[in-house]
Each structure stands twice: as C-alpha cells, then as structure tokens.
C-alpha cells in the first residue's frame, strides 16, 4: 500500500474522478451565469464587461446546458473510475502529512473505486435521464420570469446531483469516521433537496419534508454515536477505532456508540424500522431521483455499515462472531420480510419499488450478517477470510448490478411520469401495446429484481445466498444443527424472493394484459436520453447476468482490497 499526502501529485491522479466532479460543479455554477454583465468601476461610468450576470449569452442561457454538463462530468468521472479499475488499482492511502502522527484521511483502493463506480454510474444515468423528466419550458435569454426561474432550477438540480456524487465519493474514500460523516451529510442534504425538488406538488413537498426530518433525526443520532465513539477512543480514525475495539470492544460505550451509528446508516440503506420515510420520499420525488436514492444512496449507506461493522467492530476482534451479529441478523430478517410484505399489496409502483428496495436492503444486511459470522468456524481462520471475502464480493456485486435494474425500473416510471402519472399500477396498463420495448425492458427489470435467471439480479442474489450459505455451512457440517444460524437467513431470503415474485410479476401482468388507462392509449412522450439510459440498463442487466464474470472478478478484487488485513 502506498501512502501519500493530501495535495500531492499522486493525490490528484488518484482523485481524478472527484476533481472532475469538482470542476464540473464549478462549471455548473459559473457557466449559466456567464452573460453580458458589466462591472462599473466605482466612481466612473466605465463599465467593464466581466461576463457574469446580466443578459445571458445564447449558449449559456440554454437550459439544456446544465444537464449536459452534469451528465458529461458524471460520465467522465465514471469512465475515469472504470479506467483506473481496468488496470488493477494499487491502494493509495492519503495521509494528512508525512509526519509519524499523521492521520489517515482517504483511501483509494478497489473497494472505494467500485463504490465510486456505483455512485457515478447511477448519478450519470439519472442526470442523463432527467433531461426528459425536468421539462424545459423555453430556450433563450429573453423569457418571462416564470420560465427563466424554471431554467434556473435546471442548473440547481444538476448542481445537487454533482454535490451528491461528491459527498458519496467522500463516504467511499474516507478513512476517518467523521470525514465519512461529512461526506454522508453532503450527499444527504443534496438528496433532501432533490427529493423536495418537485415542491410545486403536494407530494413533492411532503416527501422532501419527511425525508428531511427523518433523515435529520437519523443523522443526529449517528452524530451522537460518533461523539460517543470519540469519547471512548479519542479518535475517529478507523484504524484507531478498530485497534481500540479489539482491546476493549465489549465495553458499553463503544457498543452504544456503534448502535447509534448503525441507526444513522440504517436510515440510508432504508433498513426496517428506519425505512419509513423511504416509500414516501420515493413516491414524492421524481423517478430518477428515487432511483438514485434506491441505488447510490443505499450503496453509500452500505459503505458506512461495512466500515463500521467490518473494520471497526471487526468480527475477528470478538470471540466467535461479531457482537452485533444477532442484532444485524434480526434487522436483516425484519427488513427483508417487512419490505416484501409491504410491497405485496402496494398499488403504487413507486412505493412498490421503494418497498422492494427495503427488501433488497434486507438481503444485503443478511449478507453482512454472514460476514460477521464467518469466524464462528475455527477452520475458516486458516483460509484468510475466504468465506467473508465471498460474501463481501457478493454484496458489492449486488450493489453494482442493482444500479442497472433498480434504476432502470425507476427510469421507465420516469417516462410514465412525463406522460402524466406513475403513482398507480394501472398507469403501467397496456404498456406492452403502447411501447413494447419499454414493456420488455420493465419486464426484464422486474424479473431481475425478483431474481429470475439469467438476469443480473439472479446472479447477484445467488451470490449473496451462496456467501451466506458458505458461512452457514462452515466446514465439516453433518447436519442442519451443525450449521450456523445465518443459514436460516438464506432460507428466509429465498422464501422472501418467492413472495416478491408476486408483486414483480403483477407489474408484468398489468403491462402485458391490462388495458391502458382512459386517454393514455398512445405512445409515451419521446425522449431519447431516458430511453438510451433504459436501454443501457437492460443491456447491463442481461449481459452481466450471462457474462458477468469480469464484474464478479472486479468485485472480488475490491473485496480483497478491503480485507487485506484479514
């Protein structure tokens, strides 16, 4: 592992994606403001053009511009990450200084890269697709206030997208719990506003409020947990926390602190019972944003959980298995069951997808539980955490592919929203007749979510199950009672999958069987951007399901990079 200091040359190379984001952010703020603005030299009548404000140029006043800037930035960042992954990344640790007592700030390795991939990929798709979702009312410099205002908001929206991305990547990179928290808050604040972006509707404003309030409480709790951990360990550096936990991990203070922090991240991954705001937020937000919440934001929460639970309260620092094992197992079981049961009767496709995302959180938590359990079988210890590695790979893989089919599903709903409404199941009615390809895409997303082969969702779910079972089975088990109880989580998971098929399939039935709603017989609004995004999602969903080996390898090396110390 190489180390470097902040603002060194390696630092810039390694953080290229984030810097791109930053540049894009600046561009987004500046470019729409470029205009024929002048600056009067005080005391004179001389007006010097300083190109800010005033009447905008034709190009800079173009409301499509922010979207393109954001999309290109995010795509560039995505590609940069992908490029760095392609060559196989060495870990790079960014220290605060080159002194001995310097603190670890950021860690760029496979693990963080994969998450960056998830974040930027999801955000890029969402912002690309949002071009069709956020309507541009008029183009040009000379418009009435109403329209100018709307155009202005275009820029706001994409700025928030970029800040969100920036915050998330900080979360992925952070080596200090507080840095992680700052990143989390940055991303959270952005998402609060993004959710509330449709503030001119009742649902939008309400969704933003709920997401904000519950999110704030959760982060308040999390911050309090942080403060307790700080009180306990005297530092929020992960390595320090981990080392301290290994020696005095069973004291009440760190346990309470971890519990608090768990709540904070639990909200982000929408684990039950912290998920309540999620369905409301998804329902009120515009669909691409909801898609981001369900994929990137969830992945961000998972980063936090992984760091907290696997690095700090590492399983091997406790006897047998991690202290939080039972707690997380219960949480996982509750989350997946709750999510699926709630989705079962939901007639709003967005809420249905929200609950399904809760269920998926449950699956991921189940996987995480298994990681916590891998040390139970002493013979695993000799295998350098092979079992844990497998689950972790599965988790990462699941989060990667989830972007394709979860976001894809939301994007399909996004087109329907542009058509009028997507808050009823019947909005999807007759989609197969209206837009056969879209219906086909949606069907692919649905069965992938349900975990039907050969879609990516099947492979990822299989991987998670396999990881759990691997831990559960241990070595030399001869009967069910020899298994670790996490095996039963796998059983619960497959049964939940079976339940989930019901509501996923209902979407398919509505699309292929039911008649369209009154007055919605024709084709959907056009918009090649969103359709391209959906197409990309379909492609990834199918291809990764069939030829996902390279992605799998990537996730594996990412997981390895997290666990090099195991």
């Amino acid at each position: 592992m190489e180390t470097t200091q902040a603002f060194s040359s390696e630092f810039y190379t390694a953080l290229l994606p984030e810097l791109m984001l930053f540049a894009g952010l600046l561009a987004l703020i500046i470019i729409p403001n470029l205009g024929k603005g002048t600056f009067r030299i005080p005391g004179t009548q001389i007006r010097l053009p300083w190109f800010m404000g005033g009447e905008r140029y034709a190009l800079t006043s173009n409301p499509h511009l922010p979207a393109w800037i954001a999309t290109i930035t995010l795509t560039g960042a995505f590609l940069a990450v992908g490029d760095s992954l392609r060559g196989g990344i060495d870990s790079l640790l960014v220290m605060s200084s080159d002194a001995d007592e310097a603190k670890e700030l950021l860690m760029i390795n496979g693990f963080s890269r994969v998450f960056e991939l998830i974040f930027f990929g999801a955000l890029a798709l969402a912002s690309f697709a949002s071009m069709n979702r956020l309507k541009v009312e008029g183009i040009g410099a000379k418009l009435d206030v109403e329209k100018l205002y709307n155009n202005r908001r275009q820029a706001d929206f994409y700025i928030l997208m970029l800040t969100c991305g920036l915050g998330m990547s900080v979360v992925a990179l952070a080596q200090d719990l507080f840095v992680l928290f700052i990143g989390l808050e940055l991303a959270s604040f952005s998402t609060y506003v993004l959710v509330a972006f449709l503030k001119e509707t009742k649902a939008g404003a309400e969704a933003g409020m709920k997401y904000f309030i519950v999110g704030s409480v959760a982060s308040g709790v999390g911050l309090y947990g942080l403060s307790m951990l700080y009180l306990w360990a005297g530092s929020l550096q992960f390595d320090v926390l981990a080392a301290t936990f290994a020696t005095s991990g069973t004291e009440p203070l760190p346990l309470i602190g971890i519990g608090f922090v768990l709540v904070g991240f639990g909200f982000k991954v929408s684990a039950a019972p912290f998920h309540f705001a999620a369905p409301d937020a998804y329902a009120g937000a515009s669909s691409p944003v909801a898609g981001v919440l369900a994929t990137a934001s969830k992945a961000m929460g998972m980063v936090g959980l992984i760091r907290m639970l696997l690095i700090v309260a590492a399983p091997e620092s406790s006897e047998g298995s991690a202290v939080w094992l039972v707690c997380l197992g219960a949480l996982a079981a509750l989350t997946m069951t709750w999510g699926n049961l709630a989705a079962l009767g939901s007639t709003n496709p967005k809420r249905m997808l929200a609950y399904s995302s809760v269920a998926h959180a449950g699956y991921m938590l189940a996987g995480l539980t298994a990681v916590g359990a891998w040390t139970w079988d002493p013979s695993f210890a000799g295998q350098e955490g092979e079992a844990a590695l497998m689950v972790l790979t599965a988790l990462l893989f699941h989060m990667v592919v989830l972007v394709a089919f979860k976001l894809g599903a939301f994007l399909v709903l996004s087109i329907l929203e542009s058509d009028g409404d997507a808050s009823r199941l019947s909005s999807l009615g007759g989609l197969a007749k209206r837009e056969p390809l879209l219906a086909f895409g949606m069907f692919i997303f649905m069965i992938s979510l349900a975990g039907v082969p050969p879609m990516a969702g099947f492979l990822s779910k299989l991987m998670v199950i396999m990881g759990i079972v691997n831990v559960g089975v241990g070595t030399g088990a001869e009967s069910l009672s020899d298994f670790h109880w996490v095996w039963w989580l796998a059983l619960l998971m497959v049964l939940n999958s079976a339940v989930s098929v019901f509501y996923y399939l209902r979407v398919a039935v509505v699309m292929f069987f039911d008649a369209p709603e009154e007055g919605r017989e024709g084709p959907l609004p056009s918009g090649w951007q969103v359709r391209t995004s959906i197409f990309a999602c379909v492609l990834v969903t199918i291809l990764v399901g069939i030829f996902g080996d390279s992605i799998l390898e990537m996730c594996r090396s990412a997981a390895e990079s997290l666990t090099t110390n195991w």
């Binding site: 309400e206 409020m209 709920k210 309030i213 704030s216 911050l223 403060s227 009180l231």
Partner: protein, 100 residues
C-alpha cells in the same frame, strides 16, 4: 474544569430530550429545534471528549458539526416553506398525503 462525565451526562440528557421532542411534537419547526438539540448534544460530547482526551481534532469535529447543523436548518426551513406553500400547515400530522 468540569468533569467530562458530567458534560457527557448533560449531552445525553439533551439528546434524549431532543429525540423525545422529535416524535412528540407536531410543529415542524419545533421538531427541527429538537433535531438541533440532538446535534448539539453531540457537539457537546465532542467538546467534552476533546477536553478529556486532550485531542484538538475533537474541536474541529465540533466546528464541522455546527456547520452541518446550520446548513441543515437552512435546508429544513426551505423545505418547510415549500411544504407550507402546498399544504398550508406545518403540523406534521396533517401532512400525510403519502402513506401506506
């Protein structure tokens, strides 16, 4: 110097009050205040811990946390404003178009 334990205790009290208030009060502004209370409980604990450990990072954390709290209030109030514009109320119980 005040015993950090006392400060911690106070912060715990503040936290509990904040959390309790957050789910007992209907008025969104009051809930926001309660959330601030929770954040400040954390701040206080950070400060106390910084003192206890003699670690300056804790102060930095506190300052950052205050900044976070501030921006949170800003965002929150903006969202409440938008909500009021649509629902004509800031009572959390009455804003329940989305449910189930």
């Amino acid at each position: 110097m005040i015993d950090p334990a006392l400060v911690s205790g106070l912060s715990a009290l503040m936290f509990v009050i904040g959390l309790g208030g957050a789910f007992t009060r209907k008025n969104a502004i009051i809930v926001l205040m309660c959330i601030e209370l929770m954040l400040n409980a954390a701040n206080m604990q950070f400060a106390a811990a910084a003192v206890y450990h003699g670690d300056t990072t804790g102060w930095v954390y506190t300052i950052f946390a205050i900044a976070i709290a501030a921006s949170e209030v800003a965002i929150g109030l903006a969202i409440f404003l938008a909500m009021y514009g649509q629902h004509d109320t800031i009572s959390l119980d009455d804003v329940a178009v989305l449910k189930n």
